[in-house]
């Protein structure tokens, strides 16, 4: 060990997790967790924290021991207090109902059905870009990334195209409410109620005459002869917006942030070879993924690194920390789209790859792996390719940027730049 390893480690004060510094730059604290407290008992927030790659991977795979924490309005969890969307698939843990609900929609986002939908994704990306491509500048978050994935989901659900802009507006208000609270939350709830009122008759219409869109599929799916209730369908739609829209939205903004601010030296390579957007996506998901935390509840005692996590304990898996684990990735704090110690192609739910390399943890792993992983990668790559083509000589409008941040890491992360102004030459 180098001489510096003799430094006595500083104990972690749990209030550090609530500090603004941690939301802006969680990585120094992640390193202290990995190095000195691989199993950290946060008595202040009544939870345990895992931060090393191997431990997080093992917890994701062993979902019998680490159950996906079930919603409890009186629970100690932040997400319990933010019950905004109504009942949804994420709250059913390891139940058969969860797997059934997941399978109702999961097939839409992978394989043949996804391939069939790619031309529509492509068209929507070009439509949104056309709204600003002659302006010489764009605020990418509000003008593109928070619009495009929602328009895609709206299209998949089969909502009327002329209502997309309204849907985007509700979405933006809802996400701001979730992220920032206070008056934003009040506005978010108004938006949610308007969205519910709007979607009620559409659900009724699908019950009477279902089509082949996603809303019909969710409405008429049956488990043991029983269909979902209206409030469950609405919860499902909200989940698709939040999990399928918000994450892809922020992924696209993060990819552009890293290209124009973190690695402008590498950006020309990506412009010359658009296939490399896939690498940008992968390395973004490792380096500073949109989602940094996942929550689990233990179903048995877990002995690990000399500690014992009790049964029924709340556990945070800081996948944002595992992704920077120097035990797995060389120079983990360097954003390198050519790194040879990371699986660069599309992700696998199993976490296993034929090239033998480890994958990033940004989508989770195992039974609760992100349902939209394949679609997110495709959407982000298609969008970035079209953006790069439309915006010639894309460059930051402002030399300084506050960086990627998160409204609250404890809500799971959702890290992204708040704004991203880009200047470009009209093609």
């Amino acid at each position: 060990m180098p001489a510096t390893a003799a430094t006595v480690s500083r104990p972690i004060d749990p209030r550090e997790f609530d500090a603004v510094d941690f939301q802006r730059d969680p990585f120094p604290l992640y390193r202290r967790l990995r190095d000195d407290h691989p199993v950290f008992h946060d008595r202040f927030h009544n939870r345990w924290i895992l931060s090393r790659y191997q431990d997080i991977e093992a917890a994701f795979q062993d979902s019998q021991s680490f159950d996906r924490a079930v919603y409890d309005p009186n629970g100690p969890y932040e997400f319990g207090r933010r019950h905004i969307f109504g009942p949804n698939i994420l709250e059913y843990g390891n139940s058969p109902q969860h797997r059934w609900m997941r399978n109702v929609v999961a097939g839409q986002f992978v394989g043949e059905r996804l391939d069939a939908f790619l031309p529509i994704i492509d068209r929507i990306a070009r439509e949104v870009i056309a709204t600003f491509e002659r302006d010489c500048e764009v605020e990418l978050v509000s003008q593109f990334s928070s619009q495009f994935p929602i328009r895609v989901i709206s299209n998949m659900l089969g909502l009327p195209r002329e209502d997309e802009a309204m849907f985007v507006g509700w979405y933006q208000a809802l996400i701001a409410g979730l992220g920032f609270g206070g008056e934003h939350l009040a506005r978010g709830l108004v938006a949610r109620n308007e969205m519910w009122d709007y979607i009620d008759p559409l659900i009724e219409q699908r019950r009477r005459s279902p089509g082949d869109d996603l809303l019909s599929r969710i409405t008429i799916a049956e488990l043991d002869g029983k269909r979902l209730e209206t409030k469950e369908i609405k919860g499902f739609v909200a989940l698709l917006l939040a999990a399928g829209g918000d994450t892809t939205d922020k992924a696209i903004a993060n990819m552009w942030y890293h290209m124009i601010y973190t690695r402008p030296d590498v950006f020309p390579q990506v412009l010359a070879d658009p296939e490399l957007w896939g690498n940008v996506f992968t390395e973004m998901m490792r380096y500073d993924a949109v989602v940094h935390a996942q929550f689990r509840q233990t179903t048995r005692e877990i002995p690990l690194h000399g500690e014992v996590i009790p049964r029924g304990a709340g556990v945070i898996l800081y996948l944002g920390a595992g992704n920077r684990d120097e035990r797995v990735f060389r120079d983990p704090d360097v954003f390198d789209i050519h790194r040879d110690d990371l699986h660069m192609g599309r992700e696998n739910r199993s976490g296993k790859y034929k090239d033998g390399k480890p994958g990033h943890l940004g989508f989770g792993m195992g039974p609760h792996f992100c349902m939209g992983y394949a679609m997110a990668r495709q959407e982000a790559s298609i969008a970035c390719g079209h953006l790069a083509h439309a915006m010639k000589n894309a460059r930051p409008k402002f030399a300084a940027h506050e960086g990627i941040t998160s409204p609250s890491i404890d809500s799971g992360g959702f890290r992204s730049p708040r704004e991203l102004w880009i200047e470009f030459d009209v093609r």
Binding site: V110, S350, K354, F369
Partner: protein
Amino acid sequence: MADSVRWLRIDFDKCIKAGECYYNHPELFRRTDSGYPALRIRRAATPAQFREAQEAMEVCPSRAISYEDDSTD
């Protein structure tokens, strides 16, 4: 359909260990330590299994699963 004999198969050259089959359809597939799937059954005995086999084919990103008549077996 009910009368024809259809066998569930995995093409391990095409398989990329995505895991969609065994996570989505654990009645039919099992995860092995290497990440490859293993078959729990070779042919569907019930309509539910038949439907699961169809869905497994659809969600496989590498098209490695087939469920077809096979006279050589």
